[in-house]
Symmetry: D2
Subunit: 363 residues, 4 copies
């Protein structure tokens, strides 16, 4: 249960870290979208560890196959099933954690929830590999959104205590994947790299924050009172492993503000209603207002570290020490950037379909 | 669309601020729960403006009626429909905002989304009155949870720039509703009161942060990968008007931490697996781990302020100035505390039913 | 659980036969539909027992109130909550059946499912009164459909062994509610009346069949492979008490046919693709083909009869005899005709919204 | 859209007749179920054309692969993705029908719905091959149900005008797959075979009826008022290609019956409440009553026949003649028997999970 998201653009995730594959089925992709495997592959490649700083030493080809829903270069309206076969698995090191859960990881909760039947190898369903499927679906969503001019861009704004100042959106869109930490400011990027290298040398890990911006979102997306744009985006972000917080627009700083500071003044510009500031993050009452939708997503440090940690033995019910082996990310944030983009695109696509926007464009 | 939440404990909201009523239908409440209108009334009374600092001058009796699903003092397994009739409505001041949307409010987005057919009086569906229905449903959820020993407590940790230190849970549970700002530390409470009074005098408003703690949540609640406990809680919180951010456990501070600091060490205590710290906020991999579930929810300042603001006229498509009349909250946070509790209870109840926990208790 | 139907036009039912009311909430009704309480009242009046042959002696005013979602004569896009308060309840006779379930009724299964907490008075949630709410929702759906020219008409084709021959659709639309048995052929109507009177005199009850036709349904409604037009219509019909069978087009007679007889030849008429016969009932592969959608719904005889019947005592766990008192329908079929129309309209409306049809018309 | 069914045991279908594969993802299968690929293969083999009379000449190995959710011989609680790769496709004959839809088929409606982008080869998503995936899911559901003693058996009761009398359930369970037409009475079986051979020689096709019986279904499954057991079963059956009608228990014959004949008398037997007849088909008020659940499903004759038929050319918008080539079933009924069983098992499994039955057994 719980492996599907979206009402009209429904993404179902399947697969395991050390099983045969990771993949998704999209149900609700409109017919007639030109789509190639290459496009999806390019998106998936952006979260490859070799392309991003802080990544694991496990190098998967992650070669995408589309096994349904595509015909003669176009989507058919049928479910689009996409997957990548796992190749480079080394499960030997996981026997140890079978009964000694890694602190900060889902090993313990998965063991309890599934009565010990969960596939614990490489974290199984809780692995950082599962989002590879999210990115496949996100690539399709992004292409659908682009038909209406909607674009999504994310970048790293914080790693450890290194913070980036605001960056121009055009630069983010152009350069973000050139930076190994996915931060477009070269100086900050270098300091972020250094922070990652430092904790890596310590056998430790580090967290960070990703900011995402959706441009050209028309006003009117989002459904009050429960299926709000913030609510469904937040839910989508919390599906990404290691996320601990989500905020929109002013976010937590809003708590310290006065209404007269926070309220975004309305104005007419080119006969269009705009706001002169964007504390709302492009959303009011759960509905988009036509301004850029902005969110910030906080990631905790990777749970798997090289240091000795306190754990328990589930069998003997006694305290135990654990030294994690295997290959892990020092910092998940750079690799999470395309995943954040994908979850944003998937959610916006769902709301755009509800609003009848995309259909019209294809037809 | 979008007015229902929950898979097995489904709450559907209806009603408007200045319409005939606000209410909810709960579908999925198990049969056999002893329930009185009085219990629900007590919960609803906690968000009354006269009971909380910073509240509006509009005083509604909010007299709850249960019009289905209750028989001989027990729930029947049928949908529970509950509502409160609106009595004290003064819609005269809203004609002005019909075409001049209030900055920071949903007036503009609602106008766009519903083509001008939305009930704009008092904010209509986007009013702070809608959560009165959430609290009715939350009272039922809380009672169901209590059968399994699960309890939810929330309190104000920040208003403006006044922050409360950590408080003992037992004290929160006992005293929170004695404080007009819902903060159990008397000194901080007084400073929060002063902060509210100050901005009120200025014709302004102020934001804040609510912390919520769920106790005795058994391990195993939550469904990976999309229907995570964090994801569904966050979605529920963003249904509360004015929420801009949600974090669990360490939240945004996790971004600056190392894995060796953040990972909660596991240990055996009384033959039970616990963690020695709770940076995870009681959730790992989207699943509860048996520790207290903790979250912090950021509220922006109330949008309706007495000061002159910049807006537009939707009819003439020109810039316009707006002075809001009507009765409004200076700070929504104290009144939001029971709403945060309610959304927490509703979400946990849904997951507890999925896990088969509540059913067993009733039977 | 199970009290909502529809994905984009979602109807949630609440209320009980002898509780305070019966009602529905519609979530997903587009904004801008002109709607009056009077229209809904007219639809509800069509299933009044005094208007139809075979009806119960319990006469409820069934005065409809719309308590949300309507403003200035138009729908607002918010949930539409409608209800009728129960007035004429006589629950005294139901104490007897509390522990002695009526054969053919849901008394026993409700007792088991809800552990004896169900509201058994008048059948509670399983009463023939619950569909009054369906008709309220159906009236809104029908009005939405009419914007696209889609019309739904139903009539009685069989009561007991009295069968009606095929009737012209125009006549059905015009005259069906003039016949007390909802059969437009006067001679057959009279024979059906006689059949009902005969079994009534015997203290017995009788079943029948309703046929429904949806006109001007555009091709393309319905979602393969599971959310087929037939599948969702059938599910909607089985929500009507006493339904035992549903067939579309040729239905069960198709079993004895050859492909060369059954296949509807395609042809061009006025530059439109039609079929020369309509064995498919307007649906192929779960999707409408532009021809009239036709279905037949079989109703069993009313379970409540005056004759002595064999039952059991749930308390003593012994066999028992039961003589049902209370006021009941001799034949539910005439009163079911508007309910069949309503469930058809609700389902078509949901699919029309999925296909983006209705939205365009309102806008 | 529309490719998923089930609330807690959710089956998502994907694949095409002449695409790369047909498959399903099950979300909600409890962890800890022992499961082998061999078991699923055996179920799938039962709908192979070579195993059943009237089957197509296209012989697919239909070798099942389980690509997620299975670990060390047990289900893990993660989504179970299963598929069979298509091998024996000959798409050459389908270019013709691309623009000349086959009467009685979904060619025309699919063309309209998907704007001509649908994969028309072999019927694409509307092929009789899609149910191979249903059977994979059904095998898992059946195994889960068996943990609670619930068993599902189906058999052919009519082919063309050859009808079978009632058969003992024990015989059906034991012998049904020994009969090439899936009818356990040898004499009737032979006559059904002859009927199929006759129409095959004529280049024609023929319909029939399948009866299904679910044994040991506990009382209490099904959710009123909309998610009734009949409603959700009917919806599941209408997902099977060629189904035109569904009835439960007495079905359409109930229309001609009196209440005194139709009401199933209740009685105590071995301290259990039973009914002395089973006109209700084991369901009252949408909820199972503990008696066998019985349904009959009507299939139309296969649309693809060898005879010349009237169609249209979608391009020229003129009438056209069509002679279908390719390999097709003369009678789909024998191959549909395991599909009916599967859809029954899938639906019952979903309701059993809602009622908390299966979980308890596994734990």
């Amino acid at each position: 249960m719980g492996n599907s998201i979206g009402k009209l653009f429904t993404v179902t995730s399947f697969g395991e870290s050390h099983g045969r594959c990771v993949g998704v089925v999209i149900d609700g992709c409109p017919a007639g979208l030109p789509l190639t495997v290459k496009e999806i592959q390019q998106a998936v490649d952006r979260r490859k560890p070799e392309a991003a700083a802080g990544g694991t030493a496990r190098h998967e080809a992650d070669k995408v196959e589309v096994i349904s829903g595509l015909f003669n270069g176009f989507t058919t309206g049928a479910p689009v099933c996409m997957l990548a076969w796992n190749k480079n698995t080394d499960s030997s090191v996981y026997e140890e954690i079978k009964l000694t859960p890694r602190p900060g990881h889902a090993d313990y909760t998965a063991f309890i929830k599934y009565g010990g039947f969960n596939d614990y190898r490489g974290g199984g369903r809780f692995s950082g590999r599962i989002p590879a499927g999210f990115v496949m679906a996100g690539a399709v969503a992004a292409k659908l959104l682009k038909l209406s001019g909607i674009e999504v861009a994310a970048y790293t704004v914080q790693i450890g205590n290194v913070k980036a100042g605001p960056q121009p959106v055009s630069k983010i869109k152009r350069d973000v994947y050139k930076s190994p930490v996915r931060c477009v400011d070269p100086a900050t990027s270098a300091r972020m790299m250094a922070a990652i290298e430092k904790v890596k040398a310590e056998g430790d890990s580090i967290g960070g924050i990703v900011e995402v911006i959706a441009l050209n979102v028309p006003s009117g997306l989002g459904e009050p009172v429960f299926d709000t744009l913030e609510g469904d985006l937040a839910k989508a972000y919390f599906a990404i492993p290691a996320v601990k917080g989500v905020e929109f627009g002013s976010g937590f700083t809003a708590a310290g503000m006065k209404g007269s500071q926070h309220n975004d003044p309305l104005a007419i510009k080119n006969n269009k209603v705009i706001t002169l500031t964007n504390n709302s993050g492009g959303i009011a009452g759960g509905i988009s207002n036509g301004m850029p939708v902005t969110a910030r997503i906080a990631f905790k440090p990777t749970a798997s570290i090289a240091k000795v940690q306190k754990s328990v033995n589930m069998d003997t019910r006694k305290n135990a020490e654990l030294t994690i082996r295997g290959r892990h990310d020092t910092c998940i944030v750079p690799r999470a950037v395309p995943v954040v983009e994908s979850m944003t695109a998937i959610t916006l696509c769902d709301f755009a379909l509800r609003a009848g926007i995309i259909r019209e464009v294809i037809e």
